[in-house]
């Protein structure tokens, strides 16, 4: 569907407008200053709070702001505008609490640490595949594959189907706001694919997440239903891939185009942890959504039951009230209370994993390919929608 281009961002915001997709940050800056809780009539009406404190307050207030809506789309129906339940992200307490507790141990810092050597080996394998070429598309040849390889291994499904995952993710997350019923076809396909793997696990249990879900029991002793298991698996594929891919890609793009930071990170490898947090702050890929389930008010704006909101964590992460020099990448930034992974009860379940993947991907890349450049700035493309990251990154380097 063709929409008129936005001329007034404070009154007619559109997160799919090409100007916004190309560079959202000046627009967020304008909103934070001129209209910190903006509203648009597009997509059946959406609020857009942009200041850190308001975003944190809303994310913490699940009594008024429900996760039954997490994507802002053209579809009017609610709840479950995603088209299906993907626990825990689409759920509210108390159910959310119970199902989240089943998943927390699978992504704990200890478990994630065990996956670090495998992740490093996978990153090295990927680089082996193109290092002799003297160039690659760092988004599609590298960044994309790291999270796919790790999460498929953790779930217990083959990574050879990665092209298929990419297509489903694209249709479900990136196109879904305007795709209408095509989204449901993608859900149907991915559900069918995963159901086959869940059945195989039923007969031959293994040490992986699908087996863990089959053996898990809710507090009342019941096992998860097939629908719940599929919903969780779809979520882990969707939430784990697009997001981490975006973070790795944005960070590499920054390093390709900022030689001083590139050299500094290479010469001072101990900066990798603070640098990782800083990349997550500045290039935060994820914007969530909520639906008002009880009338309330934020910053003087009345919100009515049924209203939808976008939660642009990327805007809060550049709020000058909270962060010094908010638009600058400061590799050794000390105080960095960023919320790239959200805050409150829906804090990204995969945040320990995502941080490890981002850090290992960057470390491995810098070790193997210390010098690299972006060959054509105009060729860089960005995903549209609520997950933002570069989808084409033509890089050149000395063949190794």
């Amino acid at each position: 569907m063709n929409r008129p281009p936005v001329t007034d961002w404070t009154a007619d915001f559109d997160h799919l407008d090409p100007t916004f997709v190309a560079d959202p940050y000046p627009i967020y800056e304008q909103l934070r200053t001129d209209c910190p809780i903006a509203h648009t009539d597009r997509y059946h009406g959406v609020w857009i709070p942009t200041r850190y404190e308001d975003l944190a307050a809303i994310a913490h207030d699940h009594h008024h702001f429900s996760s039954r809506t997490i994507l802002v789309t053209d579809r009017p129906e609610s709840p479950h505008d995603l088209g299906f339940h993907a626990p825990p992200i689409t759920e509210d307490p108390p159910y959310h609490t119970d199902i989240r507790r089943l998943l927390l141990p699978v992504f704990s810092p200890k478990v994630v640490a065990d996956y670090e050597p495998i992740t490093r080996a996978m990153a090295n394998d990927l680089i082996d595949g193109f290092i002799t070429d003297g160039g690659c598309d760092a988004a599609t040849d590298f960044a994309q594959h790291v999270p796919i390889k790790v999460i498929t291994r953790m779930l217990g499904i083959p990574d050879s189907d990665h092209a298929q995952f990419r297509d489903w993710i694209h249709r479900l997350i990136e196109e879904s706001p305007i795709a209408g019923d095509a989204t449901f076809e993608a859900i149907f396909e991915i559900g069918g694919y995963l159901a086959g793997h869940v059945d195989q696990h039923r007969t031959s249990p293994r040490d992986d997440i699908i087996t863990h879900l089959l053996e898990a029991r809710m507090p009342d002793g019941r096992p998860l239903t097939d629908e719940e298991i599929l919903g969780v698996c779809i979520l882990l594929l969707l939430a784990g891939i697009d997001t981490t891919w975006s973070a790795i890609g944005s960070s590499l793009l920054h390093l390709a185009t900022n030689p001083d930071d590139r050299r500094r990170l290479r010469d001072e490898p101990d900066l990798i942890n603070s640098a990782t947090e800083e990349f997550l702050r500045v290039f935060a890929p994820v914007t969530m959504a909520r639906e008002v389930i009880e009338d309330t008010e934020v910053g003087g704006c009345p919100m009515r039951k049924g209203d939808r909101l976008l939660l642009p964590f990327p805007s809060g992460n550049r709020d000058p009230e909270i962060f010094d020099r908010p638009d600058n990448v400061v590799l050794d930034r000390e105080a960095n209370r960023h919320f790239a992974f959200g805050v409150g009860i829906h804090r990204c379940l995969g945040s320990n994993l995502a941080r490890m993947e981002l850090r290992v991907a960057l470390q491995t890349w810098l070790e193997r390919i210390p010098e690299f450049t972006l060959t054509d700035p105009d060729a860089v493309t960005w995903s549209a929608g609520q997950v933002r990251g570069p989808r084409t990154l033509p890089f050149a380097f000395t063949a190794g």
């Binding site: 927390l104 141990p105 810092p109 941080r355």
Partner: protein
């Protein structure tokens, strides 16, 4: 100096443990508790860093 973690606020972001592993224990679900005892002098800066990076404002420092 002591560090205190408010269990009601902690959501398991794990920033504290990453910055000061000795000062914070993480349970199997990923939630933090302050390690027993007071903060050794050479870790006071790390304790302040953890406080300043917790996205939930769950950490306080008892001087």
């Amino acid at each position: 100096m002591r560090v205190v973690v408010d269990a009601e606020r902690c959501q398991g972001h794990n920033r504290c443990h990453a910055l000061a592993p000795v000062l914070f224990d993480i349970d199997d679900l990923g939630y933090a508790t302050a390690a027993p005892g007071s903060v050794p002098a050479d870790l006071e800066a790390a304790a302040r860093l953890a406080e300043a990076n917790c996205p939930e404002h769950a950490i306080t420092i008892d001087p």
